[in-house]
């Protein structure tokens, strides 16, 4: 969902965005990616949108996805939970390096 926070993306772009956001640690395969997209669509956390105006003609067949309002709230809620955990971890001084 964080990959769709800024832009409406198609599947391959989502995969690349996730790879970029995780420092190339996570590369979603097609089955995993579209399985997740299917689950998020059914949970109404993302939705399909029309192709943006400025995209290439070759992207005509691709489906683009956008984070819904509900999806954004859920993403924010989950991020806040993680931030709370991170805060506690900082106070306990169990983090090192960039996280401190």
């Amino acid at each position: 969902m964080l990959a769709l926070a800024d832009d409406d993306l198609h599947g391959y772009a989502i995969m690349r965005r996730v790879e970029e956001q995780t420092g190339k640690r996570i590369r979603l395969g097609p089955g995993t990616l579209y399985g997740s997209i299917q689950a998020l669509l059914e949970g109404k956390l993302i939705e399909e949108v029309d192709r943006p105006e400025d995209t290439e003609v070759s992207s005509e067949r691709r489906r683009y996805y956008k984070l819904t309002v509900t999806g954004r709230k859920v993403a924010r809620s989950e991020a806040e939970k993680m931030a709370d955990v991170l805060r506690v971890a900082r106070t306990r001084k169990i983090l090192r390096g960039d996280y401190v």
Binding site: G11, P30, G31, G35, I37
Partner: protein
Amino acid sequence: MSEKMYTRLVRLYPSRFRQKYEREVLQLIRDRLSDETGFFKRCRLYCDLVADVLVGLPQTYRNSYAAIEAASPSPNAEGIPSFSVLDEEPLGRGSILLGGTLSLATVVIFGFLLSRSFAYLPVPGSNGRMSPIEAVVERLNQATTPDTLMGETEGASKSTPAGVGERQPWPRPAAGASPSKSNAPALLPQRGNGVGGQRQTASIPTQDPNERSLYLRMPSIAREPSAWRGVLADLSGQPVRSAEIHLIGGHGELMARTAEDGSFAFSEVPSGNYEVTVVFGGREVAYLKEMDVSTIPAPSRLTLASGGRRPLGLLYNTMHSARHRAEGLSI
């Protein structure tokens, strides 16, 4: 792994998933194939795709079935059971053919293995007691025999003393023990340590106190050839010596002569049905029709009644019902 190969892998996914995302999945593969060139990147791509199938396939099925379950109306709203269709796509002919062939092959292989002798060998580590098949047969016998036989022998055992038919172990008496006028229970299974592995002992009550009981030690499973031994006695319990016991069947005729103590023995009896004939004093005095060699009781005690040659009926029936108990060669 080419795009064509991955197309086949995609067929493993649920039809609902494929209908909606197959084209995009293949498009993504094409994008990655065009972007990730070079040996190292291509190897990494193939590894990713294999891992993705292993991880993503179960997840996709979970999502698909969960969505179907959530979308279906309340199935038991009125207490009416209903079924949910998990896959909209009917089974293909190839799948049906493959499934049928595999099922048939499994049945054939299972039947072939059962026909081999090693299927009946004891399993290593099972203390050499019995093979798995024998164990199953043993459990089935123990679970079904007492009730069935108790019901059948109930009417015919009216003249038996009190205690007949009680569910209690009936110890096998030693040779030459007292007749069955003692508290002989109805046919009850009892496990013993017979020759050739685990066997089951069954006893049949008698109505005539002058008759002896035949204690059957039935092999749990047929073995071939089998051995049969026993003792022939008259109504007073005295052993009958120098009598001939003939087994007449499809394999020919076997004969054993009783010894001084009335004992007789057939060392090897091929599997099959036999007619048992007792010849004493030069004449046939009793016979038993169609005895299945696989259920030959061993050791057996046969009591020879007076009155000459009498048909005995099927031993199988005599083993299971006192109503059909033998007259000429009582048990």
